[in-house]
Amino acid sequence: MIVLKILLKKWRLFILPLLTIILSIGLIVTVILPRFTISLSLLDKIEERKNFLSGLTAKENDLNGLDENSLKEKVDFSLSALPEEKNFLKIVSTINKLARDSQVYIESLEVSPGEVATETAQLKAPEVDRLTFQVKVTGEQSNVENFLFEIEESLPIFVIRTVKINNSNRNSQAQLILENFFTKYPLSLGKVSAPLAKLSKEDDKLFETLKKMKSYPVESLDITGGGFESANKVDPFSSE
């Protein structure tokens, strides 16, 4: 009560200190508190940046630790196993070379680009395009088997979708449907900050398997005879 009386009677004496108090409170409310709030958000941002940077640094270290030559070797293997585009000549050349080396005779070779005969036989690899070959070979039983074995062990990857072997005496005739695969390169690498793809143990194992498989260079094909049998068969280049 007495304070109130004093304030009412001698209010002039209290103006300055009161103004100071108001100023202080105003300063705290209008400047310090907002700055404090901004500082909190800055702290969050710094934490976020630190995490981002640690991810980038880990990626940089991982990239530094990669051997470029070993990567190139793996790229070569993976592309010879699963090329970017269909290479009809390479496949036919490989089949031809394997047949010649195994001493089997190719009776027929048909190709259906990208065709899959039955749904059940369709491989569950939707990103991959395929070429389907039908091959008929004859020869000695062991030679035919050797040819088929080598087919499974060669690059680009061949998958024997179906095979029928008929043996009579020491000779064999094999009819097989082969699938060969190709697919486009992945389009984009993604962001710089995207985590680095790492090769798993299974991937390394896969490359060990691929290393054991053989790739043959494309060679010129020497096809004689065969072709379509027709009474009207006329080679348009024969008159040249």
Binding site: V3, I6, K10, L13, F14, P17, L18, T20, I21, L23, S24, I25, L27, I28, V31, I32, R35, S39, L42, L43, I46, R49, L53, L56, K59, L63, L66, L71, K74, V75, S78, A81, L82, T120, A121, A125, V128, L148, F149, E152, I160, T162, V163, I165, E179, F181, T183, Y185, P186, L189, V192, S193, L196, A197, L199, D203, L206, F207, T209, L210
Partner: protein
């Protein structure tokens, strides 16, 4: 025990004294609050400055690291391609079997006196073999070797059926296998 102070200052003076005392209290409070506000202002300014500096430093480091990563993008591209191919090749291998490898391993188990006359297989793992055996003991021997776990563990089904005897006295049979 209650102690009571006795104010001996007379009315007018007492009032002046009270005013001076209150003024002093308020002044101290005002100065204190001003000091706190100023100190808070300085501290918040410095802290803000420090945070800004840290953020700038982090941004610089980030840009530098990003540049270094971009310089090594060829390696990343290789790795990306390898991983992509490994996944797809793995998928192809996972969804197929290798019938000729199976045929070769089957032939290794074949006793002399048994011959395969036809072999049919597909990539899903189904294999059908028609074979002839000179006698039943050889067939029995072959069946025993097939039940060896190192071989049979790779198959869901191994059955021998349609056992018959041809005019020449040989035994024919059908061997069906389903690879895992």
């Amino acid at each position: 025990m209650v102690r009571k102070g006795i104010n001996l200052i007379p009315g007018e003076e007492r009032f002046t004294y009270e005013v001076a005392r209150l003024q002093k209290k308020i002044r101290i409070f005002a100065l204190g609050s001003l000091l706190i506000a100023v100190m808070g202002l300085i501290f918040s300014y410095l802290y803000f400055l420090n945070l800004g500096k840290q953020l700038n430093q982090l941004s610089r480091q980030t840009t530098l690291t990003e540049t270094k990563i971009r310089e090594m993008q060829q390696k990343e591209g290789f790795l990306f391609l390898i991983k992509n191919r490994a996944n797809l090749i793995g998928q192809i291998f996972k969804n197929t079997t290798r019938p000729i490898k199976t045929l070769v391993s089957l032939e290794k188990k074949l006793p002399e006196g048994i011959l395969f006359t036809s072999f049919e297989a597909d990539s899903s793992g189904k294999i059908k073999i028609v074979a002839y055996s000179k006698d039943l003991s050889l067939l029995n021997q072959f069946m025993s070797s097939l039940s060896d776990s190192s071989f049979s563990d790779n198959f869901n089904i191994i059955t021998i059926s349609s056992i018959g005897r041809s005019e020449s006295g040989n035994y024919s049979f059908v061997l069906e296998l389903n690879q895992k």
